[in-house]
Amino acid sequence: MSRTEHTPNDTDLDRTLAAPKVATKRRSEPLDAAEVADAAITAALVVALLAAGRILASGSLFQVFAAFVVAVLAARRRTRAVVIATCAAASIALILGGLGPVSQAALAGVFGWCGGISLRREWGRLRTIAFSLLLAWPAMSFSVLFFYPAVAINGKLRTLVFENIENQANGFGNIITNVGSLFGSLRLSFIERAANWADGALESTSSFLIDNWLLLIPATEFIYTVIYALAIRGVGGAILRRLDKALVEPAPLSLQPGDHADPLPIQIAGIALKRNGTTVTVPLHLEINPGEHIVVEGPNGAGKSTLLDALAGIDNHDAVIRSGTVGLGSFGGTARVGQRPEAQVVGTTVEEDLRWGLDTPIDLTATLADVGLALPPDRPTSELSGGELQRLALASALRREPKLLLADEVTSMLDPEEQVRITNRLDALRDTAVVRTTHRNDAAATDRRIVLTSANPKPAVTPVEATELRTITSSVAESRLLRLRDVGFTHNPTQPWAHEVLAGVNLSVHRYEMLMIEGRNGSGKTTLARILAGLAKPSAGKIEEAKGLKRALAHQHVRLQLLRPTVSVELHSLAGIRADGKEPSADAERHATRVENLRTTIDLFALQHLLGRRIDELSGGEQRRVLLAGLVARGVSLLVLDEPLAGLDASGRTELASTLDRVRLAGTSIIVVSHDIDWAPPHVDQRLRLTNGRLEELRP
């Protein structure tokens, strides 16, 4: 067994990061994969926002949000992507809602594009408005006048709409005059006069609207244009800066030609890692020949995944020397399975996922059995557990009979037995060169080992002293916070999708306790989490709640719950205190307690050094710590965490465990709801399992 170590040296290559944000591509070139994905998500967001706007009262605000979303796309991607995203959003809107939503989608597209271009060019306010007036105003006026064939070409729907406006004006005018004359008969003639005046005003307004519609449509569009241009310019810039901080770069990502793929031999000389806005180079020299098996070890952040992405040809293009083509994803080329299981899925069903990108017919059962899975082909991928997803992704990689297989922590979510099986399966590949990363010591004797050392030593999270926790658990009072008795829940009870998700659930939560509820996806655990957090009402059974109990739910994607830009502002906002340090005139005492509360929470969660940082610069674990601290400071005494384990590696789990300990030290009870049945945080008082809507206790 050969073993080599590589330590990074700090080389500041910041200038390479400041390269132009928008990929320089020719206008008429087809969209690459990254652009397709961005356009698709933008289209989905626009449609979802317009749909939400139809349901909720503040609908027009959602239309402005839709324009922001398009503006962000336009500022980061080519116009081609914007046009295609708008077309896609419009066609989905047409199917779901008819012609009205189509024009809203077009409006978001046109105004968003103009605003996005101005943002990209960093134009001032006047220039932005001028640009929008030059392009968006005529476009929108034209489309409203002529796109609706009913309005301009054909007068019949227009006549109907106008008659309705006239009727409404006449009707309400009649009501007002009648009421007015009633007052008139009571000798309150000034009210009668006012009523007659209002009637006249209504009727003249409606006839003004109807007579001048040809001018009024461009006039309203003019006002819209100015409002949208100003709103996008004011808010869009901030959104873009925060996207950059969150390191979501608009990197180009193209499909690679699959013919005659010949990825090996391959040489790699140094990989560049991006860490907090700076670039660090790992001086790594490596040559991989056909059939070789290489195991890459090292802690998180040492560049294991970046190394695999470089070998796959999707990162660090300059560092790699190869004679042939990579052929990523093609038959007999390179296959890559990334780290987070949810991020590897492309298909909505098992069958679609396995067939994605393969033209040849495929024996589903055999392909799945190869990795130890037995799943029906029409099983939605959204219902699979992390371990099942990992094996599904591996199955589609193996199905391609690759010359080079890149596997990033592909067994991290499996139980020990299955891990050995999969590792042996990979070791048995003779014609395939395998490069896999691992944080376990499971390299076979024949493997070549490469050890990467950490590129940025993380500030160690100080573990909570075990003795501190013991004093708390031993002092568990018989103070019950929440009790569920025979709780049941039926989704959409009056609708055809009605199905019973929960039945006869009994559960008590006491102060200082930590419970863990496990259950497969689809077992009703998200519903239970929402009921426990007080966000949903059960359709059967009773809930007894301690007086003044505050409950909260922390979602799987923490970022969605963190709204303000910096840690300090966010914590103040969550705790309900002014961030500028001023005291409110009323309720000074309560304010003082809250401030004190927040201060102790910040100390307890060790957030002092993060206070000035921007939310989007934080790691996922740090973001969760901020959210939980904020909720604790708000006075939440029962915290429900929905799927906190998703996408975490081993060190992420340790970090989560330590954060949970801090929450408990603050005196808050915790319920962890998870589909991962292989791992529970330490210090859990009770483990329960949810199967088909029924809850049972697990004996440890």
Binding site: D38, A39, I41, A44, I55, P496, L563
Partner: protein
Amino acid sequence: MSRSQTFFRPVPVDSPVHRLAPETKVVAGIVISVGLVFNPLWSHVLFAAALVIATFVLANLPRSVLPKIPLIVRFALFGGAIGAAASGKEPFVIGIGVGGLLDYARLIVVGIVMILWAGILSWTTGLTAVGFAVRRLLRPLRHIGVPVEEIGSVVALAVRSLPLVANEIDVVNESVTNRPSPADLSDKPMREAFSYIGDISTAVIIGSHRRARDLATAMVSRGSTTAPDPKRPDFRRIDIAVLIVAFAMCVAAFLVPGWPQIGN
């Protein structure tokens, strides 16, 4: 469970409408809407309404699929009806002018017909299948240089991301409503509210762009940005019959004078 989600889910029952090819349903819906918008006379409106209701019954859909109308919309509809009724427009029935109410009803029915058709489509087909249908329908346009494959992939991918994205919007919405408004905690409420709007959009956009990046990497790793085509639905005689009826209705809207004639 998201409020917006129920609208996008197929109802698990079987019916002749479920078995129609998705393309048929999409095209028929669009064609009928175009006809209606072009000539919304009572005769045409009632005929279209009858057709949509018949389809709804045939589709074996329970009445409970219909979404609840929000209170504010009900109030608006009711208020509009009062205004229309008070206009006292001819014709008179027992001395009361019902013309305004009739005009109003006609406009509302046109709207309901269009929304109900979209509902039937999503309840009997499922959005993923609709996405594929749009992709197949657009394909002929490639001969005139429209980037059909790209639009088709984007539509199919967008449609499958829709439930997740709608769910994320709900989560953000929930965290907005569950915390005190920052405008109340500031001396400059307007400015604070404005930047809060930016914060909320950022939360939604960052989440979805991360998702887009993951999706792109996953697609590149599989060597394709297009979902594998599902088995092409069979076009049967019933599909052709439905399309003939839809097109006939559209043509009739343009050619048949209908009743009652209105001005212009």
